[in-house]
Symmetry: C2
Subunit: 471 residues, 2 copies
């Protein structure tokens, strides 16, 4: 709640501002525990709730998370934003906890709490000292079933969210570009609809929408408890029996099924002109598989591919566009592999100096085409893999990231075992695997390309702006 | 069933092949009865079914139509094509009528029958001699409530529809372009999903999908009976009391509510390259209001605007691009004003000779910008209005078109009175009204532009194809 912005939206916006940060963020979430990390234990409560415990004895603190297998892509048509709205409203209180007191209780006990909504999952986090774990589990289990909402506070919170949308999307040309690009990229799948929701739909959401979404999706058999820290599985199990295990399961929870994206016959392009934009920027998104949807080994190969192609200052894209050609002020790319139904390959480039944006795009495409035509080298793959694993080891130091990694996997239908076997699968990726996914998924037909151009404010738009990708 | 292709799809494809035909088709449907035409009477049955009777005594024949207020835009996400699939299955029979006999009975009695599915309505038509009207009403009322479907024939029909999709869309580059363009144009509203359905979703439809769609939407209180021909309202009423009035109403029918389209921040573009394409063609679509959604007078002004700008050989577009500049082999445009939630302005141009398609687009935009900047003239408006009314008078000669006009209006929430007052509203349109809608709705941000380029088949796609609107 302290940072109550929807997660994927945060990631997406980070991708625009600093795509390297995003790429690394994606790693942390998608990647598995490496050899050096602690091993997780998992079990199910009688009511169907999954529990994952990750021992981490370095300090007497714990990270407690509850993940729900529901996100913005599960919203009914016309109700965009309801998943995120409900996430806000989860802080309004229950019979036992007065409105607004949830975070105060955590803070009064020296802890921090947080929540986020993404396309596929909604999660609530707390970081507290070990002795406060029972308290946190009690109040989190309480709001899983006993949320109380009054009309007035719901409407007040709706205004908060409309303001959040205004400041984070509507006032930020990069965010608008990304939102428009996502909407253009997906023809049918709800990933094209923004996590925060369309403004006109947020404005219509009310208490009954929130409560019906809550009763449909918030239940122990649609949730995953992840506890990382100075505890063991037995302790967590005993506490869970006293708290979450008492929440009734919902017999109506079913496997999620969203419309599948049809194969595209043509890539799409759009140009956003905005006097508020700082520098011209270019974004390209391709639909690709995700860890949850890919054929064996493909997602790992895509991670290696994007590491080599575009992630970081040693990537081909950065070296070519920023260092050698000096056409870009920054250039990066990432593989978004955490989706339940599909993933994305993404590129974001800030144009350097006076280079025409079309030239920058051509230079980016040259890098991509070279990989498709000639492939990557064994040396590049080895270096990428090493760097990737180093990132994993480093990020495993963060208890929060460690817990997130398991939570995210479990929320999108992957298992603890799949997470932990991940480094082994990564080691098996070959140069040919990387080249094959490059040839398959760098497919312009499955892509959307967007330009953001800073412009002077002008009264009438000239017809000449409508061509050459400027529309 | 003889022509069982979904109506809007027919119209849409007609727009590609011969947009003048489309524009005239749109007129016939959207426009109202002019002074010379017969006046309709309408009433409601006790079970909520609307009835419209249009006397036309020229010959002893009648046109009988049942319109359902349901179309492809009412399909649940992931079930695209079910409205059209059910339309096919409606010919499979009831307890009284054996499978496949419906059309044979009509034909044996010297009649013709037909059906279509569009985004907003599904309709079943018969044209028979006057004395066969009781028979037609009896069997049409029967299949409103008593459809029988067996698994096997449902699966056989599904194959028929997959083949229909293959031949009419997948094998026709112009149709693919239009389908991709519609998908790119709409970010949220289901108008972006093809009426015939996405192939992978059609392939999953089954008997239970069809029956649940049928029981949800097919009911007298969601239907309109339109009878045009050698009858009067009393005769039709007496027959309807014996047939349709006996069908039970469905208490669960509600007003249709689809997701509203958010305001777009950038127009989209796409290029389809296809070796099967004959000539390079350009399409542009803009989201605009429809007769059902527009502010008073706007839709009428849009009809006049598109008549002046792009409909027919005397339009500005045709004269400039085809006659004067010889850049286009054909050029036309239309206003699709019949939608329940919104309409579209459309342009379709077949490139002439070796003119680069970008030049053709620029020439089209020059025509549009000139209208936005300098407006149309009183003389143009007068001439357009006269031609429009002449079209109406002419098309009112067709009993089918006359009946369609009322049926379409009633199916999208408009009244018989609105249809009949239409010529009066048309007469009130001023030059300023036309100029205002031109400035408002020729907005590239709310548009999608598509190129269809014939190409040689080649092994690898060059990176250079990805820019300048070619993606």
């Amino acid at each position: 709640m302290i940072d109550y912005l929807p997660g994927l939206l945060v990631l997406r916006m980070a991708a625009l501002a600093a795509c390297v940060v995003f790429a690394s963020g994606a790693l942390n979430v998608a990647a598995a525990e490496v050899a050096v990390g602690p091993k997780a234990k998992n079990f199910k409560l009688a009511n169907g709730m999954d529990v994952v415990v990750i021992p981490d004895r370095r300090a007497p603190v714990v990270t407690h998370m509850v993940w729900y297998r529901v996100g913005s892509a599960d919203e009914a048509p016309g109700s965009s934003g309801i998943a995120h709205f409900l996430e806000h409203l989860m802080f309004k209180g229950t019979e036992k906890i007065p409105p607004g007191e949830f975070s105060k209780i955590i803070a009064a006990n020296g802890g921090q709490d947080n929540a986020f909504t993404s396309q596929d999952a909604t999660a609530y986090f707390q970081r507290v000292s070990k002795e406060n774990l029972p308290l946190v589990m009690e109040i989190e289990a309480d709001r899983m079933a006993n949320l109380r909402l009054d009309e007035k506070s719901v409407l007040t919170e709706r205004d908060v969210i409309l303001e959040e949308r205004r400041s984070r999307v509507d006032n930020d040309p990069s965010s608008i570009l990304n939102e428009q690009l996502m909407a253009a990229l997906y023809q049918s799948h709800p990933y094209g609809i923004p996590v925060i929701g369309w403004r006109h739909e947020i404005a219509e959401l009310d208490r009954s929408d929130a409560l019906s979404f809550y009763s449909k999706y918030y239940a122990p058999n649609n949730a995953i408890l992840v506890v990382a820290g100075d505890v063991d599985a037995d302790e967590v199990k005993a506490l869970a029996e006293k708290t979450y295990a008492k929440v009734k399961k919902n017999g109506k929870i079913t496997t999620r099924a969203r419309p599948k994206e049809p194969p595209h016959q043509a890539g799409v392009r759009l140009t956003l002109e905005d006097p508020r934009a700082g520098k011209a920027t270019l974004q390209r998104l391709y639909i690709a598989p995700s860890y949850a949807s890919a054929k064996e080994g493909e997602a790992e190969a895509l991670d290696m591919l994007m590491k080599i192609a575009a992630s970081g200052t040693t990537s081909r894209l950065y070296k070519k566009l920023v260092v050698e050609q000096k056409k870009a002020a920054s250039a990066g790319g990432w593989f978004s592999g955490t989706g339940l139904d599909s993933g994305r390959l993404g590129f974001a480039i800030v144009v350097g100096g006076k280079t025409p944006i079309e030239d920058v795009e051509r230079a980016m495409d040259d890098v991509i085409e070279e990989i498709k035509d000639k492939g990557v080298t064994q040396k590049e793959l080895d270096r990428a893999r090493e760097a990737y694993i180093a990132d994993l080891v480093y990020s495993s130091d963060s208890q929060t990231r460690l817990a997130q990694r398991y939570g995210w996997a479990m929320a999108t239908g992957r298992s603890v075992e799949a997470v932990e076997a991940w480094p082994e699968r990564l080691k098996k990726v070959t140069v040919e695997d990387v080249n094959k996914v490059a040839r398959t998924y760098f497919d312009l037909k499955q892509s959307a390309t967007g330009y953001l151009l800073p412009t002077e404010k002008k009264a009438t738009k000239s017809a000449d702006d409508t061509r050459n990708g400027k529309s």
